[in-house]
């Protein structure tokens, strides 16, 4: 396939642009873009489950928070070093997604939404209930000594931006590879026609569970990185809002596209940022944007572009 050069060039190009951007953006915006890149990783994970495999989860905040606490708690209580703590966050996200999947994937459609929502809610309440161990709703600050990796202080602008960019780049390239792999094709097949896929010899439960675990690994990694880079671990990240956000990013940017989650996160982040400068009812603006989106571009920005001609867009 000679076409595969084009997508690769596009994605590497985006990484190059983001690398260059740090030298041009003022500090405030550079920090914003760092946040957006980490949140995009979360949304990419959501996209693997929802956009590619068709699993509409309302519980991804649980996996994001699992990553964040999986990273933060070992540092806070056991004094772990940052790299093992980040790995612990990654694993926590994937493991919890596997556990939830084992139960929730016995359902589908609306029931799946409700079951994942309840699991996430249970996770949030558990964080509050165990407040002596988790810091409750106040959360805790990640020790600044544990935010140094290889001599780089991740609490300062440039290392933080670079760390976010490296994570983003790796996550995006893995996602690109995944969705173009044979397994990526099976994920889409499961979304498009589960009964047919079953009759082609694919075990729907296993395919969906695998996709959900990969999705959870992304969410967990993003949660761990978010806590590490911005220095705070808190229960707000386990609330329903953080399950909805990645869905909005994905819907806006284009479900089932590799860059869509980043584009959606970028636009939504700045939409909220700008709207909240004018009105306290900024969520109203977000809602209005979504209504427009659903009515006029239900496939999101990149989904629409792909449909209108850019067929090779992965």
């Amino acid at each position: 396939m000679s076409l595969s050069a084009k997508p690769l060039a596009l994605h590497l190009g985006l990484i190059a642009v983001l690398f260059a951007a740090q030298f041009m953006l003022p500090s405030y915006h550079a920090t914003n873009v760092s946040r957006i890149m980490v949140l995009s990783v979360f949304a990419m994970g959501y996209n693997i489950a929802f956009g590619y495999t068709g699993l509409l989860s309302l519980g991804h905040a649980l996996f994001f928070a699992a990553g964040m606490y999986g990273m933060g708690l070992p540092i806070w209580t056991l004094g772990w070093a940052p790299v093992p703590a980040l790995i612990a966050g990654l694993v926590a996200g994937g493991a919890l997604a596997g556990l939830v999947g084992l139960l929730a994937l016995r359902t589908a459609g609306v029931s799946f939404m409700i079951v994942t929502l309840m699991f996430a809610q249970a996770g949030y309440l558990t964080l509050l209930y165990l407040n002596t161990h988790t810091g409750g709703d106040e959360g805790f600050v990640v020790d600044s000594a544990a935010r140094m990796i290889a001599g780089f202080d991740l609490s300062t602008d440039t290392p933080r931006y670079m760390a976010a960019l490296i994570l983003f780049a790796i996550a995006m390239l893995i996602c690109l590879w995944l969705v173009r792999s044979p397994f990526g094709r099976v994920m889409v097949a499961m979304r498009e026609n589960e009964e047919r896929s079953r009759m082609l010899g694919y075990n729907p439960f296993r395919v969906k569970l695998t996709a959900l675990v990969i999705s959870g690994l992304y969410a967990g990694m993003a949660g761990a990185a978010y806590g590490m880079l911005f220095g705070y671990v808190g229960a707000t990240f386990a609330t329903i809002q953080y399950s909805i956000l990645p869905m909005l990013y994905v819907l806006l940017g284009g479900a089932g596209t590799v860059i869509g989650p980043f584009l959606g996160a970028l636009l939504m982040f700045y939409l909220i940022d700008i709207a909240s400068g004018y009105t306290t009812a900024y969520l109203f603006v977000v809602g209005a944007a979504l209504v427009v989106l659903v009515l006029f571009a239900p496939k999101g920005i990149l989904g629409t572009i792909r449909e209108r001609g850019l067929k090779w867009l992965p």
């Binding site: 044979p182 094709r185 099976v186 889409v188 009964e195 047919r196 009759m199 082609l200 010899g201």
Partner: protein, 240 residues
């Protein structure tokens, strides 16, 4: 001779409706076995039990002497039982290539592109790989469905009314294709078009009201008065 696949007392009721009612059935290696019967006779339901698409209520199914009655559908596919749907079930929003590739990679094919090209060529759809499956004509979707079955490289290929919607010329090509598959592949063919059945089948089983009415060689079936009554001469149309 031991049967490749055997069903004993296979039963599936939908409420009070006895769709499949105690069917005994043997499929021999390498034959083209036609399954015929009037609309609603239970043919699709019966092969759905064989392929695992619908769970069995009672009875047993063996494949090469292994009991597969409780095996889930996807595992039966891996054991070499492929089913092509009566109601076309392709992935309309994926390309023809991806549709067939999904089947080929499930069979663990090395050299995916070549496998897909070969399966498409077998059904005369070479050159359609880049099209969206949903944009194909109905007849071509039927052929795509067959190509997906072939790409699974099955031991038993179950075809549920494959010629429905095909043009006369395409039916001739299809007959040649099916003949070329045996004896390596065993074919179980549900078909309303009697010309196709009589041309291809080496064995015929007639279902009626969920029960086996007769089974045997084409000539014996043709001259069986019960069959003529219930089906062949019974004014029921041979559509297609």
């Amino acid at each position: 001779m031991a049967a490749l696949m055997e069903a004993k007392g296979l039963t599936r009721h939908f409420g009070g409706l006895r769709a499949v009612d105690g069917v005994d059935f043997r499929l021999q290696q390498g034959e083209i076995h036609a399954l015929i019967g009037p609309n609603g006779a239970g043919k699709t339901t019966f092969v759905s039990l064989l392929s695992g698409r619908i769970p069995v209520q009672s009875g047993t199914i063996t494949l090469a002497d292994e009991d597969i009655t409780r095996l889930p559908a996807h595992a039966r596919v891996k054991k070499g039982i492929a089913y092509t749907f009566q109601i076309t079930s392709v992935y309309p929003r994926l390309t023809v290539f991806d549709n067939v590739a999904l089947a080929a990679q499930s069979a663990g094919a090395l050299g995916l592109e070549a496998q897909v090209a070969a399966a498409l060529a077998q059904v005369n759809l070479a050159g359609f790989g880049g099209e969206l499956a949903g944009n194909l004509s109905y007849g071509h979707q039927r052929l795509l469905e067959v190509a997906m079955g072939l790409a699974l490289k099955p031991r038993i290929l179950i075809l549920d009314e494959p010629t429905q919607g095909l043009a006369a010329g395409e039916i001739e090509g299809f007959k040649t294709l099916v003949r070329s598959l045996v004896p390596a592949t065993t074919v179980l063919l549900i078909e309303h078009n009697m010309d196709v059945v009589m041309d291809l089948a080496t064995q015929i089983t007639v279902l009626n009201f969920g029960k086996v009415l007769a089974t045997g060689a084409p000539d014996a079936i043709r001259s069986n008065p019960e069959v003529q009554n219930a089906y062949l001469g019974g004014g029921d149309d041979a559509e297609g």
